[in-house]
Subunit: 309 residues, 2 copies
């Protein structure tokens, strides 16, 4: 079987650190080119998607790893050329854009895969299995880190459309929606906007779910300066306690480590992409982004100290 | 054919002014009861949906006209009882809740109708027909009114989940999405939050659409004190100009009044509800609410003078 000739469009840190090795490590894919406005991606490199598409005519797929805003136009162009698409998270800047890409990919018969890399962590599948028939007594998401450590110099996270603390927080949402046996709905919350920012630096949220009888909450905070915590802590009605640690990489059941068998986030994600292409299927999951939008719809707003990263 | 026994849940101004006369004027429906926490709806009146459902066992349908926040729980209870539902706009507080109601109604085989009353204005169907195959050169939505005149004493519009200027603005979105031959996507915008408010008092937005080659914009403003304006002004590539005036009630084509034949917003809306029930179909349109959510996702935030209504 000939490998799927794939381009990476938007060559930043995530492309270099994750997509290039995942493609190199999967014989189903072959890296056929890249797009970087700075001209620094793997050869053949182009400075626009149009140039790439014109120069590499036998391209079959692309991973779009640009910031969210330009993705929609690039994706439309690629779908019109019949490419299968993998979109980094979050898939687009708005929910409306994703719906349109879903429609276009369906009409074109191409695969559209809106990825949420955190869902491919080792502990996630195991947690999902353990919770398949569970009633939830409580869930507490804690996603605390230092924006100065994780986004140095990236003031754009506080610009319009930059997502703010929802940029990491959407990873938590993607894991929570993957493991819970029923959907999550935002009930209420408070969003903390720095005086000089258009996006929140922290959010305290509560949720409801048809699968839950008790409190469901998320604490997202970019102001933690002593280390980081990315945990989802769940108690079930039968008295079990599941702790997903390190963003989903580790799972504890009643305090004991559960062995997980994942092959790694991005290798797993590309394996799924190949399956979807083989089956001519799409996987378009808007739930994590919808939870962000719903948080903005119902959230209380508080202004906090200005921030510069 | 026996009339459809219908209750009104949430008996405020819109129920009294619009839903009661529309039900009374349509022989397909019979008002079978109401719910009002203040106990002031048409008899038999109850103070909770549970009491209504327990006391009126042959109920077939309900119009939910409460504020958005409590609708989801009421709607779930009603769907579980097999009722066909009409939801006032906006259908729920969040997009996640609507998706769940869509799923529940489908599973229960009941009709779910998320209404946008402005779409039932006389000029809207005529405008939609005229634009069916058009390319759009420009669109300008102007939705200006005085919040003190239209929402006196209703400070809750500025509380979390209160929608602010999007409460009227979502009517404009519902008309624009109904008449344009392709979807609208929020590109960027500025939201103006009063210093004491959790929702915007004004919004300046720009959009894109696969049907448009030029600028698409919306100016929503609750700070206009000399009268009001609710217009959608569209130029097409072939040089025509459509002006929907008075929220959609009137239509001008190249300056000339177009005769419209509507039976009125709420009579038309209930006629559609009867059709949907007859065909066991649902009509769940989330686009207007998604445009609000997308505006919050990408919008710039500015703080303006505090407001008290």
């Amino acid at each position: 079987m000939k490998p799927i000739r794939t381009a990476i469009i938007g060559f930043g840190k995530i492309a270099e650190d994750q997509h290039v090795p995942a493609i190199a490590g999967n014989p189903r894919f072959e890296l056929a080119g890249s797009v970087s406005r700075q001209g620094k991606g793997p050869a053949p490199n182009f400075t626009s998607a149009e140039d790439l598409l014109a120069a590499v005519p036998d391209l079959q797929a692309a991973a779009i790893t640009t910031p969210p805003r330009p993705r929609f136009d690039i994706a439309r162009t690629c779908i019109a050329r019949g490419l299968h698409l993998l979109l980094e998270k979050p898939p687009c800047a708005t929910l409306g854009e994703i719906e349109e890409l879903r429609r276009l990919a369906e009409a074109a018969g191409t695969t559209l895969f809106t990825t949420w890399h955190a869902q491919h962590n080792g502990g996630v599948a195991a947690a999902k299995k353990l919770l398949a028939d569970a009633r939830i007594r409580s869930m507490k998401i804690t996603w605390h880190e230092d924006v100065h450590k994780w986004h140095p110099g990236q003031q754009w996270v506080f610009e319009p459309g930059g997502f703010g603390v929802f940029d990491p927080g959407i990873n938590a949402f993607s894991v929570a929606t993957a493991i819970l046996p029923a959907p999550l709905f935002v009930r209420e919350g408070t969003l903390f906007f720095p005086a000089n920012a258009h996006t929140p630096i922290a959010a305290e949220l509560s949720f409801t779910s048809p699968a839950a009888d008790g409190p469901l909450s998320a604490s997202l905070d970019w102001r933690k300066t002593d280390g980081e915590e990315w945990t989802i802590d769940i108690e079930t009605a039968d008295g079990s306690r599941l702790q997903l640690l390190d963003g989903g990489a580790r799972l504890l059941l009643n305090g004991d480590e559960v062995a997980t068998s994942g092959i790694g986030e991005y290798p797993d994600l590309y394996a799924r992409f190949a399956q979807l292409i083989d089956c001519r299927e799409s996987l378009v999951d808007v739930e994590p982004l919808r939870l962000v939008a719903d948080s903005l719809l119902v959230g209380k707003r508080e202004t906090v100290e200005a921030v510069t990263v």
